[in-house]
């Protein structure tokens, strides 16, 4: 069995669930949820067994536009885990989300993520801008539906419209960028582009124009400047599971593509290498500042996490600019993948606490977190852990991720970007700890204790454990990611 069949399995399962929902409405929400969760879990188990035995087994008709290197395998696993936790979060939130949808139906929230997951997994292996474009748009169009899904809520509808307009704008910019890159290099495959860029007589300006448009278009998907303004609004308006999926899945998907694109553009002896690195540094520094500084004045935790997501995108862009730095044992793409792996548990955990409070009928503002430590010490503890990790407190996963980015920046002597990143990190300590302090304040917003079901406890503890383990002992993950792609490909043969 090849890894490739998993994507087909997920996409077909998603389509089947959509059809079943349309023609057999009497089937209960629980069944649909169970099938979609079970299907994703099965795909994850199969993936882990296949990936460890015979990773490189693509059918020959896909080899021109797909390749399974170690990075692709890592991201495929990442997307499966993300989809699994998002589906589980959806079932946690079902009781309150049902109030905002037509006739209380939620089935698309269980079937569309499967299709999105399949598209993201295709994207992880894509070697060609056509494949990238189609997979990216499958993700984006599905997200238009997901964001606006709770349509009885005015905020969700508004978020949907904003996401739609800016998403379509970024698509236009992206295709325009692809067109100019193609015009300058005469090819759409990453290998071909990298090869064409090393020719000394290549005209620089069309490539630069294309690269700038391409990076801006991809920047939308990862919540980077100059297309970052939709993030807080959409995060606030969308249902919590969708916000989580956007924040982790969509960002990671954007960064896989960005990694491949930047790798091709900054290949050794590339005529546009220094310019692309400079552009990444400027965008990254700007994104960190535009995310961190407004975050200090937010009252809503969901908006706060939105701005935090922007600033994390900034750090990731800065990491991408550190091409050629190997001080931490990983190259730029490895640092980005490591950062995203630490970003997954901490973001999911903070949205989980938000969702559990929301199910209890609390709001989403910082003041609704007051006295959480008294209502449920466990929830307060895991929220503290995830916020501290997002801020980058030592001994947590977030610290290791940031550390590698800073090491890379020092290694390449990008001092200006380093200063901006440091300012962003300092601001981060202020706004995350404001939320933490509020949880331990003596006056409570509500008194009744919060009870947690056993599965919720187990999964939350597992995520919290992941944060601590990655913070204390990052070596194993570092080793997986430090393997250069060629070595992994050779090992598979």
């Amino acid at each position: 069995m090849s890894v490739f069949t998993l994507e087909a399995f997920l996409a077909i399962l998603g389509l089947l669930l959509l059809i079943v929902e349309a023609f057999a409405p009497q089937i209960s929400r629980r069944t649909i949820a169970a099938v979609s969760l079970g299907g994703t879990a099965l795909a994850l188990v199969l993936f882990l067994t296949v990936a460890s035995h015979a990773p490189d087994s693509l059918p020959s008709f896909c080899t021109p536009w797909m390749r399974l290197d170690s990075l692709a395998l890592f991201y495929k696993g990442f997307f499966l885990v993300t989809t699994l936790v998002v589906l589980w979060l959806t079932s946690e939130c079902a009781s309150y989300l049902g109030k905002y949808t037509l006739e209380g139906r939620l089935n698309e929230l269980y079937s569309l993520p499967l299709i999105v997951c399949a598209a993201m997994m295709w994207m992880a292996a894509a070697q060609d801008l056509v494949t990238v474009f189609v997979a990216l748009e499958l993700v984006t169009v599905s997200f238009y539906v997901l964001v606006a899904f709770a349509r009885k809520s005015n905020l969700a509808l508004e978020a949907g419209v904003k996401y739609l307009i800016l998403g379509a704008l970024s698509t236009g910019v992206l295709v325009f960028g692809i067109a100019w890159i193609y015009g300058a290099t005469g090819t759409l495959s990453f290998d071909g582009i990298a090869k064409a860029l090393t020719a000394a007589d290549l005209n620089k300006s069309p490539v630069l124009l294309g690269a700038a448009f391409l990076l801006a278009g991809l920047g939308f998907k990862v919540a980077a400047a100059p297309f970052q303004s939709w993030v807080p609004d959409v995060y606030q308006g969308a249902p919590i599971p969708v916000t989580t999926f956007l924040s982790v899945g969509s960002k990671a998907a954007g960064f896989v593509v960005l990694t491949r694109t930047v790798d091709a553009l900054t290949v050794e002896h590339s005529v546009v290498g220094p310019e692309v690195k400079g552009l990444l540094l400027i965008l990254g520094a700007l994104t960190v500042l535009l995310g961190s500084l407004p975050a200090m004045f937010q009252q809503s935790v969901k908006r706060l996490l939105g701005y935090s997501s922007i600033s994390h995108a900034g750090y990731l862009l800065l990491a991408l600019a550190c091409v050629g730095s190997t001080r931490s044992g990983m190259n730029a793409s490895g640092i980005v993948a490591f950062y995203l792996a630490t970003y997954l548990p901490m973001t999911v955990l903070s949205f989980l606490v938000l969702a559990l409070l929301r199910v209890q009928g609390s709001g989403e503002d910082i003041r609704d977190f007051r006295g959480l430590a008294k209502r449920n010490p466990f929830l307060a503890f895991i929220m503290t852990l995830s916020l501290a990790s997002l801020a980058g407190l030592p001994l947590t996963a977030g610290f290791m991720g940031k550390l590698f980015v800073f090491v890379g920046l020092v290694d390449q002597a990008y001092w200006g970007a380093l200063v901006c990143a440091a300012i962003g990190a300092a601001a981060g300590f202020y706004y995350y700890f404001r939320a933490i302090v509020s949880m331990y304040s003596p006056e409570a917003s509500a008194q009744e204790p919060i009870k947690l079901a056993m599965p919720t406890r187990v999964i939350a503890s597992a995520l919290a454990a992941a944060i601590i383990i990655l913070g204390l002992y990052p070596k194993p993950l570092q080793q997986i990611l430090s393997q250069p792609p060629e070595v992994a490909a050779k090992a598979a043969h």
Binding site: R151, E158, V175, A179
Partner: protein, 105 residues
């Protein structure tokens, strides 16, 4: 004789017009039309580049294949997008951008 540059200039003008419309118009439907115009501009550039990228007497068709995908994706985007705009009109009785200003910091 029409050269590659003529096509690129038209494509650039279309793209800028679309972008200007997205920024300055207040009606969401018109903004959506301008977005489609930007996509068409990109498609025109792709087809022109493809036609003039001749190897062994034949144009390179990869970019033209991408254009087919772009058109299909744009159609899907319009279907979903119009559904969302219709839902917005039903609740707010308006499709002006002023109808979507509730979310702010």
């Amino acid at each position: 004789m029409i050269t590659l540059n003529h096509y690129l200039i038209v494509s650039g003008i279309l793209f800028s017009l679309g972008l200007a419309g997205v920024i300055s118009r207040r009606n969401i439907l018109i903004i959506f039309m301008c977005l489609e115009m930007m996509l068409s501009a990109a498609n025109l550039a792709l087809v022109a580049f493809s036609r003039f990228n001749v190897t062994q007497g034949l144009p390179d068709y990869t970019a033209q294949a991408l254009v087919f995908f772009t058109i299909t994706v744009a159609a899907a985007e319009v279907a979903v997008g119009l559904a969302i705009i219709v839902a917005l009109f039903r609740t707010k009785q308006s499709v002006e951008v002023e109808a979507v200003t509730k979310l702010h910091g």
